[in-house]
Amino acid sequence: MAVDTAPAVTAPAPSHQSSNPTPRWRSREALTAWLFILPSLIGFLIFTAGPVVAAGVISLLNWNLFSSPTWAGLHNFARLGPDPTFWSALGNTAYFTLVSVPLTIAVSLALALLLNHGVRRIAIFRSLLLLPYATITVAVAFVWIWLYIPHDGLVNAVLGWFGINGPTWLISDNWAMPALIQMSVWKSFGFGMVVFLAGLQAIPQQLYEAGRVDGTSPWNSFRHITLPMLSPALFFVIVTSVIGSFQVFDQALIMTNGGPGTRTTTLVMYIYRTGFENYDQGYAAAQSLVLFAFIVVITAGQFLFQRRLVHYDN
């Protein structure tokens, strides 16, 4: 078969690689390797790597899918500057990220600390607390619309018990975004909780015992033992949460559809609108590349910052 003819190609040239005594075998191995890789590689080049390159090309075109494309140069990127919806989407996404990431991490960490007490029967609570993370975003988004019904909805009914007159949430200019953030924290805290729990369980107990001998207060042992030992996990969760928050879409589409006005229009929702409601594919591609650039810059910034704050054992 083809495998048997392959060695003949490389066999005549064994001289320049004396360290490699089996060139026949190596080329046979190379052929085997390609057979293993090809199913993945063909699909990867067509459907993942190719589209990445194509995104760059499409961003330089005026194209609405129905007519033939014309060259636009950097015009699509220049259009972003005076586009108020883009700036609004960018601001909303930043607002969402800046509030939801710290909140999610605080909730995840608090619950991980609670679950880290090694008492019997606690595992069932870990499972149940992970449940929101395992639900379908679209499905639970509907429940949250119901929870946020103005006036007599469950959220406002509970606020009413404390004498608080709750806002109209999803239809309120100022409270629609906090409502989305609250739902998103609920939906995603399970991820960080599991990572933190694994991190906490890896901290050697001797450190705490040494602290106890020295009379360290619980707060100080948290501040000087738990936090530094947990910092790699914290960093990891912050980086992934920020990337995820920049891509928020599902709950905003279902719960507010970007409104009121553009108050909760996120970057990804704007890309979706531009590409699939206005059929402005070139402009949508340019927006997606700008989103990518933001993610790269922010992530790189976090990695620079990490050197000072993250404690790696060893």
Partner: protein, 277 residues
Amino acid sequence: MTTETTDIRRKLILFGCFLVTAFTLVPVVMMVLVAFQSDAESMAAKPSFWPSSWHPENLTRAFDLVPLGKYLLNTVYFAGGTTIIETVTAALAAYAFARLNFPGRSWLFGIYLATLMIPSQVTLIPQFVLVAKLHGIDTWPGMILPHAFTAIGVFLLRQFFLGIPRDYEEAARLDGANRWQAFVRVIIPLAVPAIATLAVFKFIGQWNNLLWPLVISNSDATRTASVGLQVFQDTNGTQWNLLLMAATVTTIPLIVLFFLTQRWFVRGITMSGLGGR
């Protein structure tokens, strides 16, 4: 003395866990409760929380309003198809990247790595254009193939394969097994946990995927549950009991799958940060 205080402490901790968990599960519980309310009760201006009468027939009514069964089956095709293709092709490629020498190996793997950080929105427009040009809109290949070849699977499985001692394979090779046999008989059985983790995450992620089915599917032939729910909302207004019944029905398979595969799910989160949304 210590046993008594630790017992009180244990009860306090469990009570705290109980309170927090009960609070957290309110939305899920309400989803199910409202699903069983009567039309009048669920759509009253003042929402009621506990159903004053139970209406299990809402289940069949929801299925009559929209083809929920078809949507769920479509979701299984979509999530299952992408999962199977990705897992199989990624395992093969990862083995070659981890164990076989061939010219261009490192730069080829570099191309895979380079796409890891790129958000799916960047490829959304080109993938849509490609599928449209190939007349794949609203077809299964158009739905499945663009999401079945991401780099993350190759990357994760390669990492895992690198951790398997070479000796195991060498022993099989000395017994006369070729590469393929060594891969199937030695590597795959050892890599079951990693492959299962990848598969579970891929499946759950795609079950949740809204954006891609939203742009590619435009009829009941390929419409998934996520998109179907959105259509349900558009066509039936806020008929809360039926909408939340539909939401319950589409969520339950995922929750069951989650409890069955929890071990791998938790491992996937901690080991690789899969699904860091």
